[in-house]
Symmetry: C2
Subunit: 80 residues, 2 copies
């Protein structure tokens, strides 16, 4: 999530689930590179991949996002 490409992927998935191809074509980058970013997001638990026929649909796992949000809130709550 340090990475701009990965953040953008998450933004794309915010509205609707997408196939690997639909995601990849948004970027000016080779498909294997995008696939690699998807792999990292998957490993981090931020997205889920589901194979449907020859397509692979990706969607956001909000659970992990919510945890990050909760962690971050520690810092704003305590406005000091």
């Amino acid at each position: 999530m340090n990475d701009a490409t990965r953040r953008e992927i998450l933004e794309l998935l915010r509205d609707r689930d997408l196939t690997a191809g639909q995601i990849a074509e948004q970027f000016n980058m080779s498909w294997p590179s995008v696939s690699h970013h998807l792999e990292l997001l998957k490993r981090a638990g931020l997205v889920v991949a589901v194979k449907e026929g020859q397509y692979v649909f990706y969607s956001i796992n909000t659970t992990v996002m919510d945890e990050m949000l909760k962690w971050l809130m520690q810092f704003t709550k305590k406005k000091k």
Copy 2:
């Protein structure tokens, strides 16, 4: 912020500002390593360093934290 050490540093700084040394002694790690993490946090705009005499005080920059929080909220708001 991927890194556990850096997250822990931020948690330490949540309550009070600390010197580099006070931070470093919390970790089972060489001081230069901690210094390196502080450098990365500084570069990311997450902390601010202020030199006072021979000490360097570190504090959190909540601005960047707030931006991250705002970004993350995009995802929970739209509960789908």
